[in-house]
């Protein structure tokens, strides 16, 4: 009886905390989305207009004046490519680093994130120019891949670490080589981690504009670089910016929603540990 009351109280507490957290997290997002339905002068109006006549003008304007879909496609190709590249190279590396407990490969791949992004601009520009790759998807996927790769590796390291060694050894005894253990045992067991790594690296490369700023050209410009079209002297279009931001945020959000079901907890390891 007492226990029931206690857990009921705990549930209420958790619910209250959840609501507070949600409010703090959501308020700016709501502001962003609401602003995308306002005209620019309404966005910056004071006091803020809570009740306003929503307008679709920002979105219409976006559709009319910006090759939004083309940019979105570019972003998808580049971030998708970079994420794939990151997963392809990162999963085996993380697995190896976890099994051998040697962390230097993981550290090495992080090196690209230790230097300021601006350090890469000129040298990369020179290098990609020599390979005639300026403005190519290849250049953008490769450079964004440098961003995605360490995220994949570092997110997966503890996940692979949590797989009991004996399970991998059992696979070895069952006749699996290193690669096959990774494929048949490591990958399925690390699935929630891989999902998270995918979301994170996708979002990172989706929103990273610096490299694309100099390496993309007209036909390969990603969305986030195009978003700058809304900011500028004499032309800061707050409503348009927020509409663009809302639309830019949507694809990663959709991705996150879509992969949620792979994120179910308690999927696996509980059964074999202890």
């Amino acid at each position: 009886m007492e226990r029931d009351q206690k857990s009921a109280a705990a549930r209420v507490l958790i619910a209250v905390l959840a609501i507070i957290a949600a409010a703090l997290i959501l308020t700016p997002l709501v502001w962003m989305v609401l602003s995308s339905f306002k005209s620019s002068d309404q966005v910056t109006a004071y006091p803020p207009s809570l009740l306003f006549r929503p307008t679709l003008a920002n979105y219409e304007n976006l559709a009319r004046t910006t090759s939004f879909l083309a940019y979105a496609r570019n972003s998808l190709i580049e971030s998708g490519g970079a994420t794939l590249l990151g997963l392809l190279l990162g999963i085996p590396a993380a697995y190896a680093a976890s099994v051998t407990r040697a962390s230097w490969p993981a550290l090495a791949t992080l090196s690209a994130r230790m230097a300021p992004g601006t350090l890469f601009l000129v040298p990369w520009y020179l290098a990609f120019r020599d390979f005639n790759l300026i403005g190519s998807y290849t250049a953008l996927i490769l450079t964004q891949g440098v961003i995605a790769l360490p995220i994949v590796i570092w997110v997966l390291l503890p996940v692979f670490d949590a797989i009991p060694r004996s399970v991998l050894e059992a696979a070895q005894v069952d006749g699996c080589g290193v690669l096959r253990s990774l494929w048949r045992i490591g990958l399925p067991l690390a699935r929630p981690g891989i999902v998270i790594a995918t979301i994170l690296s996708f979002v990172f490369s989706w929103n990273f504009f610096l490299f694309a700023l100099v390496l993309s050209d007209h036909s390969t410009k990603p969305l986030v670089v195009a978003a700058f079209n809304f900011i500028g002297e004499g032309s800061t279009d707050w409503g348009g910016l927020m509409a663009a931001a809302t639309l830019i945020t949507l694809p990663p959000l959709v991705l996150a929603i879509a992969v949620q079901r792979w994120l179910v907890a308690g999927l696996t390891l509980g059964a074999v540990k202890g």
Binding site: Y125, V214, E233
Partner: protein, 431 residues
Amino acid sequence: MPSRLRLTLAAAGILAMPFTAHAAAFNWQQYKGQTIHVLADNNPVGHMIETNRAAFEKKTGIKVEVDMFTEQQMRQRLVTVEDARSDPVDVFMTLPSREGLQFAKAGWYADLTPLTKDVAPDYDFAGLSPALIAAGTIDGHLTNIPVNIEGPALYYRRDVFQKCGVAVPKTLGDLPAVAQKLRACEPAMTPFVSRGLRDALAYTYSVFFHNMGGQYVVNGKSGLCSSAGLAALSLYGNMMKEYGPPGSVNYTFYQISALYRAGRAAMAFESTNELSNMMQGGARLHDTGITLLPPGPGGSHPTVIDWGLAISTYSKHKGAAWLLIQYLSSPAVQAANQLAGIAAPRADIASQPAVKQWLAGAPVRQEWQNTLAEMAKTGTSEVGYPIAQNPLSRQYFGDAVDKVILGAATPQAACAAADTKLNALIAGHAE
């Protein structure tokens, strides 16, 4: 960009047709089939390029691709590309008052002088502001062609001034008193706002400085702390500190326009370029007046600058690039620009019928036009120190201004600290 503006521009494009019709002698099609890349700043001038792109492409058969970024992004891309001596940029927008000397020294500007000889008959090169052309000519090379003029102007609320029984200050010295009265009569309103962000305030501060009688370089030394300089520093700092909005130290055009548009400021000292932004939504269209900053002991020296179009030294399509510049700076296109709130660097534009009609549409437009005309006549484009390291000089005195705004130092102390660095900079000791 507000859609209304775009429509106006399109209409202007049609209007512009007759001007180009009899220019048959000039071969606009000579670079047909080429593609040129334009690096543009995301401001009304940049948008103007985008707006005129289709008509130009049709006229010349040249394909134009415009990459538009915020000013800093644009510069970041430009410097990467130019530093690599690479050619993906043919035409770029440039702020001669800021980076002219620096870029010229770096050799990034192609010399336009020979190209100006080969123009369509109706181009009227001489009609472009001689002062700006002179300022853009460095070591005998014409570095850019101006496509607009702009400067900080005083936007003020006629209705509030009337209600509070104050007039536009006659001199710079009257400014605090006026602000004081406005504060007393409209306590909810910010009496005065201008730029406070370190790297942005040179534009507005320079007018205070010059009107007070200041000169940035006197006999090879920094003149920041002359008595006129100190007076300017005190006045600007105090206006922002006492009568500016809280947080004014971070203010640049984003906040200033938003504040003024929302009806929360009685006076805003901001670029003429912001006109359409400030008027957006229509709330300010009929209660706003525009004028120059009042003169001070040193007279009236409004800042007037231009955005110019330059051709990259490394461009492989200089001929086609020049056609674009020529087209965009032609009297016909510039007249159309004026209707969109982009002041043309051509004195005789205002007398064109379409422009006249637009100006008559709202009193604020006429005032805006008058202010710009005055700027063009009496203005100076000295924004910060006239040295290659101009951007760094802006940071140094920007720091001093911010210290005063924040009350972190007396004007004397703040100025002295900046002056030491500036003198070293002028002497070329610092890189």
